[in-house]
Subunit: 193 residues, 2 copies
Amino acid sequence: MGYKYNKEDILNVGYEVFRKNGYHNVGINEILKESGIPKGSFYNFFESKEDFAQQVINQYGLSNQSLMEKFFEESSLTPIESLKSFYAMVMDMNEQDNYAGGCLVNNMSMEVGRNIDNLGAAANQHFIGWLNVLAPIIDKGQKLEEIITAYSPMELAEYLHAGFYGALSRTKVTRSRVYMDIWLDITFNLIKT
Amino acid sequence: MGYKYNKEDILNVGYEVFRKNGYHNVGINEILKESGIPKGSFYNFFESKEDFAQQVINQYGLSNQSLMEKFFEESSLTPIESLKSFYAMVMDMNEQDNYAGGCLVNNMSMEVGRNIDNLGAAANQHFIGWLNVLAPIIDKGQKLEEIITAYSPMELAEYLHAGFYGALSRTKVTRSRVYMDIWLDITFNLIKT
DNA sequence: ATTAATAATTAGACTGTTCTGTTTAATTTG
DNA sequence: CAAATTAAACAGAACAGTCTAATTATTAAT
């Protein structure tokens, strides 16, 4: 028999709350209230708010990477179509969320990436992990002559990554997916052979 | 003779501090300390922290729009080269800043754009203002057959805008302009005819 | 198997600091 | 002298984190 609470439940609450409300805008008490655990238990599991946030980032970063790997493994489409359908799926998820949260790792990276070194480094590490999932798919697409070869797979992966997050961030204030859809259309028209 | 302090000095301090450290991470006391004014004077000029931040956003948003307009007016390059050199200039400025702050309006839009409506709306308004500076230049480039015509000037403006901010945000955690430079190269190769 | 000892977890009151914003009085300007 | 501004003490709430005690789970001994 385990104890009453477990870390993962608290991390999941942290994920949702941080993603929607940011880091400095969220107090520990909000995490406690949402997860129903008392303060003593929280500080038994986590050293500090910063340590907690780092574990939240790591949990989401790794689970998102698994999701990406699984998506591309299971996809029966060609590389470029597979990539496009991946972004379309993420965009659908964001629409269902009413464009409220965006990506936790990107939000954290922007808000505290330069002020809290550990959190910035964690965010960057997961970005690199995700890019390393994209690059081999792009490589395949290039070898199949679906995707332009003027740039390396990693360069194009960064290009997709940056463009997508730029477009995603626009949805936060426009509350519309219009330009995110256009981003997808333009990007995949431009990188195809 | 005016009084001892004026709003613009305080707004400039707010610009620098908010840009580098965010909104919720910055207390009024930090603004007071940096600008050397007492609390009473601050609340004489501004209704609240939120009101202050909104005026900071508006001042920077408008001044950046003027800077853009002036840049393109004075540029002797062709439209597409003019656009590219504009982004190169902004990238240089960001490098000189050691990738520490990024764009105030974008940062605010990301951190509080969805939680503090007034600030989100202000950020979005300035984004639209900037896009409306870019679009006519893109239009000219299309008419000169320098730029692809498959997408409208506004669509391409959003594409540049989103991609640039995505690439810019990457510099915050990588502390390197490598992929920002690659973004510039890829983007302008892809949108040229 | 039961019990005793130990370790981990739960619980929430409490601390000291920082937060935004208020208030009242002094000072400066037109 | 009247209005605007300056000045800083003050208030109340929220903040991250600590502390002591209680309960619960695990391990060791019998």
